[in-house]
């Protein structure tokens, strides 16, 4: 099942590559149609998934290179499930939104589909070597997507993206190899199997070094302040589809990695380093929001808002409470949906006006009321309006973090004010007033195709906002299992809800 999930986009890419050269108009529709197959598979996966189980499901494995203990081993749990579905949803949408790609369309579709395969691979991999292969493989299609179809400074942005993330993963590879070596030392045979590595006995200082090596790779991906500057450049230059997938899914590799590997493989280091991560998360939340306020470019504004939103995920993850972890996971999905939608919307206006400068617009709600409606809806989802999805993640994270990180949670809550400021101020400048620039007066409102692209996202935003149980029920057992593991392997105790006294006593003791 999972192997099929990875293979179908690859096969799809091959099919598109083989399409006759004289029928270029087919590339995109065929690509969209083919990307619906993994979507259907992901749908099956979601509904077949046994709710209430913490462990990995749909396991498959095959030996790859026995002497080094490398195997092909895949599975899904509540944490990766949502991300897989998110990927499967966003790919057809971003392909369908790419009609303005006017050259080398075939390659474009191929790269997007290969990227999808890589993303599925990352989320299902249960062998660290396999994980690393997919983790790196993703860089290549993304590099080309930015470098070929990007804006003016696309080469600079693509190289920066590539090198920056590659430097981080080099350290991670070293750490992965080190883990395998230690496994060999402790048991006699090397292994990259996640389950095997969990059984390793690592001293606190080793844990800390390895945590740092993994953590750097993931922190760049998230990105965590101050490692975030590749992000705005990459987003501004990337074509719409690239931005949607970059913000929607690629950034989650970082937060997913922290949750999946750092918390479980290095529990003691996690507990020791909570404060460092919490500080960086909170700085990211406030700093990203603050910087977003004054961005003159709409796309850059959304990019910096990601820095802020991802900070919530990091905070929730390292709060080490039920609410925090669940909130972090669901915020990954939610951010993917709303920020993905915002990038789509920015792309739609860019196609019409060939500018993303806020100052070039004004009064758009008058000429494009439907567009304005969608934008405002997604802006409020991003602001964290209760009833829409963004709130669920933020609220879970904030309330969940208060028990272990009260001060940071309070500062983070301040970030919700900033979100309202940067998005509503941008909305005011772009959409309200009288459309006095002649270029803006002739703009046409959204087409049926564009509405069809956005509609599924609107539905998901509402469903997850009002009935997040569909996802939370699947997420919770897996995040609880991580917390259990931390409790068992360290002397950390997850505070019981409803025990305020514990919070401040614990705080007083320096945790």
């Amino acid at each position: 099942m999972l192997t099929w999930l990875i293979l179908t986009p690859v096969v799809g890419a091959a099919v598109v590559a083989l399409l006759p050269r004289r029928r270029p108009e087919l590339y995109l529709p065929v690509g969209v149609a083919l990307s619906l197959i993994p979507l259907a598979l992901a749908g099956v996966l979601f509904f077949e998934f046994e709710t209430g189980e913490a462990g990995f499901q749909f396991l498959q494995q095959a030996l790859w290179y026995e002497p080094l203990g490398i195997s092909y081993r895949v599975g899904v749990d509540g944490i990766s499930l949502g991300l897989i579905v998110l990927t499967a949803v966003l790919v057809p949408i971003s392909l369908a939104a790419s009609t303005s790609i006017d050259r080398r369309v075939k390659e474009f579709v191929v790269y997007i589909l290969l990227l999808e395969a890589g993303l599925f691979g990352v989320f299902v991999a249960l062998d660290l070597f396999l994980f690393f292969v997919f983790f790196e493989a993703i860089l290549v299609p993304m590099y080309f997507i930015i470098g070929i179809w990007g804006g003016e400074r696309r080469i600079y942005a693509a190289v920066k993206f590539f090198l920056y993330t590659a430097v981080g993963s080099a350290l991670m590879l070293a750490a992965i190899i080190a883990l395998a070596v230690m496994h060999a030392r402790q048991t006699g045979a090397p292994s990259f199997d996640f389950a095997d590595l969990l059984a390793l006995d690592l001293s606190p200082s080793t844990q800390r070094w390895l945590f740092a090596a993994f953590g750097l790779a993931f922190a760049i991906k998230v990105p965590i302040f101050p490692l975030h500057t590749w992000l705005p450049d990459a987003h501004v230059e990337a074509p719409t589809a690239g931005s949607v997938l970059l913000a929607g899914v690629l950034l989650k590799l970082g937060t997913y990695g922290f949750l999946r590997f750092n918390l479980t493989l290095f529990p003691q280091a996690t507990v020791d380093l909570v404060t460092v991560l919490a500080v960086l998360a909170v700085v990211g939340i406030i700093y990203g929001g603050l910087v977003a306020i004054v961005q003159p470019d709409l796309k850059k504004l959304v990019a910096y808002s990601s820095v802020s939103h991802l900070g919530f995920i990091v905070l929730g993850t390292f709060a080490l409470t039920s609410g925090g972890l669940q909130g972090g996971v669901i915020q990954m999905i939610n951010h993917g949906l709303t920020t993905g939608a915002l990038f789509l919307l920015v792309g739609m206006i860019y196609e019409r006006r060939h500018t993303k400068k806020i100052a070039d617009f004004g009064g758009l709600a008058k000429v494009m009321p439907v567009y304005a409606g969608f934008f405002l809806f997604m802006a409020f989802a991003s602001i964290g309006l209760p009833g829409l999805n963004g709130f669920i993640g933020e609220f879970l994270v904030l309330v969940g973090s208060f028990a272990t990180l009260p001060v940071y949670a309070v500062i983070a809550a301040f970030g919700v004010i900033l979100a309202a400021v940067y998005l509503l101020w941008a909305y005011e400048r772009v959409f309200t007033g009288v459309p006095d620039k002649p270029e803006n007066q002739r703009l046409v409102d959204l087409s049926g195709r564009e509405i069809a692209i956005l509609a599924p996202l609107v539905v998901l935003v509402l469903v997850l906002g009002l009935y997040p149980k569909v996802l939370l029920d699947k997420v919770a057992p897996s995040t609880e299992a991580i917390l259990d593991r931390i409790e068992q392997t360290t002397d950390f105790q997850v505070p019981e809800p409803g025990r305020l006294a514990d919070v401040f006593v614990a705080e007083g003791e320096g945790r």
Partner: protein, 630 residues
């Protein structure tokens, strides 16, 4: 009927969704009627469900609908007790009248049906807020009414001032929400739930005074934002950019009272936190006086009412802060009647005067708009606290409790009485400037009475503004009795019971009111030049009031400008030059080193490969050395 409780929210919600998709096709006025019927239907259901409470046989209900975020104790859950019932009846009742009125007021607007989409959505959100059975769902309603407020204030978004006002309202409210949210964190961490049922019963055993005070103050921060109290009231005067029915419904009768409702709802917590409660009362009294003084000198008919609303909300805060929950909610109700009436009357005037809002250009309108004039007159007497109009009873109950509470509260009582005098003054001033004296209209203005869809709500509200106070008088404490089950286990402060004290205190405030009325009448009954001279004779204070103490400028200089400067510094100096500069600096050094080592090779991917392999080897080797100790 209580089984159908969900319909109370769903009817207007459905109306909103339906009109969103089909409103334009239905057009004017059908779309308005659909929305009005949805609202009226909601009222009927609510009334049916509230009947047992009127009979004294009702039971408090707590209905869980579905789980929302179990990990932090958030569920969709409704509560139905007399407090919720009263609020629901106010929202749906006054809401229905204002919906009806809007059909006339908004006629001819090109986004007629859109207006009702938002209005119905607002009603559904407000009902969510009052029917919520836990703090998370309350927060849901709380934020959704903020959204609707945003949408409706900037309804005429092509006007930059309207768009800016909407944003300002939302952002300022968010500052309050920050406090509210931290309050919720503290509640959840203390109780392990956000459900009223799980909190209020256990509050005395779980909370010590410190935590109760913290929660009380944090909830107060939220309430201050929503109910426009010092220091977060600045959004409400700007909110007058919205269509007038919006001002009546959202910014007078319902949404802005949400803060009062939250304090009343959280009575079991405030009961444990006298300091927090005292802060509520003090902020309320100060706001009442502060805003009333600004209202004295406003010339825009709606601005007077906006500051008046802030001031009256201050009274309600004084009430609930003094643990006079019944009195506070009582004033919330009578205020909903007379202030909605005042706004709708003002709307009728604006409508009849071809969108003129400057009272200096009005005068003598009573002859041309008799129904508007008479009904607004009733409302003016009600807010001025003249018996037997409704405002007298509720305001005096609050003042009575404050007086009775003694100590610091006596100071607040004095503030309240002075405010009562100012209130009578500015309201009479408004009435005289608008309806009496010589016409001072612009050329081409032909004032006329409004259509029946607008005057009928005025008449109904006038009846309520007149008689609404009789539900709770020293002789018949009907409302107190009605609300009793909602405040079980809470010591609700009572106004003085002896009639002599009542007459004495009542007499003081009536004298204050009459003084205000007479002074304003004498000053403004004269021709325009005369009252201009009167205003000038007051000198600097008058100019301060006229400019609302320039608080907006102060906030601009203290918060907005430095905030923006900081953001710019962070974005353009720090982020681009320092953080990104460091990154590019490293890249530059690496490239220089690379170029020096391998002058022929330039491919980036190659660079990457070298860095990658070298780094990996080095780190693995090093880790193995370090790891030897394992």
């Amino acid at each position: 009927m209580t089984d159908l409780l969900w319909l109370v929210i769903v009817l207007p919600l459905f109306g909103s969704v339906f009109l969103h998709f089909f409103g334009r096709r239905l057009g004017e006025p059908v779309a308005g009627w659909v929305a009005t019927l949805a609202m009226a239907g909601s009222f009927v259901v609510a009334f049916g469900a509230a009947l047992p409470f009127f009979r004294g046989t009702g039971e408090n209900l707590q209905v869980v609908l579905w789980e929302w975020m179990p990990a932090v104790g958030a569920t969709f859950e409704l509560t139905w007790d007399p407090l919720a019932a009263l609020m629901t009846l106010i929202v749906t009742g006054v809401g229905s009248l204002i919906h009806l009125y809007s059909i006339g007021y908004m006629s001819g607007d090109e986004r007629f049906s859109r207006f009702f989409v938002y209005l119905n959505l607002f009603a559904a959100s407000m009902l969510t807020l009052v029917l919520a059975g836990n703090y998370a769902m309350l927060f849901l309603g709380w934020e959704l009414v903020g959204l609707c407020s945003y949408l409706l204030i900037s309804f005429w978004f092509t006007k930059p001032s309207a768009a800016a006002a909407g944003k300002k309202a939302f952002v300022v409210n968010r500052i309050g929400d920050f406090g509210f949210m931290v309050g919720l964190m503290l509640i959840f961490t203390s109780f392990g739930t956000l459900s009223y049922a799980g909190i209020f019963e256990r509050a005395p055993e779980v909370l010590d005074t410190g935590v109760a005070t913290a929660i009380g103050l944090l909830l107060l921060v939220g309430a201050i934002g929503k109910s426009a109290q010092i220091p977060l009231y600045v959004w409400l005067p700007d909110a007058m950019e919205g269509p007038t029915p919006v001002s009546a419904l959202i910014h007078a009768a319902t949404m802005v009272t949400a803060g009062v409702y939250v304090v009343a709802r959280s009575a079991p917590i405030y009961q444990l936190a006298p300091f927090a409660a005292g802060t509520v009362a003090t902020i309320g009294a100060l706001t009442a006086l502060w805003a009333a003084s600004i209202a004295l000198a406003q010339n825009d008919i709606k601005k007077v009412l906006a500051y008046s609303t802030i001031s009256q909300l201050g009274y309600m805060f004084l009430g609930v802060g003094a643990a006079a929950y019944v009195a506070g909610v009582f004033h919330l109700m009578t205020h909903a009647f007379f202030k909605a009436l005042l706004f709708l009357g003002a709307g009728s005037v604006i409508h009849g005067m071809a969108d003129e809002q400057d009272m200096r250009k009005m005068g003598g309108l009573a002859r041309h708009m008799p129904i508007t004039a008479i009904t607004m007159g009733v409302a003016t007497l009600a807010i001025a606290g003249i018996p037997p109009f409704s405002g007298f009873w509720s305001k005096d109950e609050i003042l009575g409790v404050a007086f009775e509470a003694g100590g610091w509260f006596v100071v607040l009582w004095v503030v309240g009485v002075v405010t009562a005098m100012l209130t009578a003054f500015y309201m009479t001033r408004q009435f005289v400037m608008v309806f009496l004296g010589e016409p001072r209209w612009d050329e081409g203005v032909h004032p006329h009475e409004s259509p029946r869809t607008m005057t009928v709500p005025l008449l109904v509200l006038a009846l309520l503004a007149f008689g609404g106070g009789f539900v709770n008088t020293p002789w018949r404490t009907g409302l107190e009795h009605f609300l009793e089950p909602a405040f079980e286990g809470v010591a609700v402060a009572q106004p003085p019971k002896e009639l002599s004290t009542f007459f004495l205190l009542g007499g003081v405030s009536v004298v204050a009111g009459v003084l205000g009325i007479v002074a304003a009448y004498l000053a403004y009954r004269r021709p325009a030049e005369a009252w201009r001279r009167f205003q000038e004779s007051l000198g600097a204070p008058w100019r301060w009031w006229e400019q609302a103490y320039r608080v907006d400028d102060l906030y601009g200089a203290l918060v907005v400008a430095p905030g923006k400067a900081l953001a710019e510094r962070a974005a353009f100096s720090f982020d681009l030059r320092i953080v990104d500069g460091a990154v590019n600096g490293v890249a530059w050094v690496v490239r220089r080193v690379g170029t020096a080592l391998r002058p022929l090779q330039t491919g980036f991917v190659r660079n990457y490969g070298v860095v990658f392999v070298a780094g990996t080897v080095a780190v693995v080797a090093w880790l193995l050395v370090v790891g030897r100790g394992i």
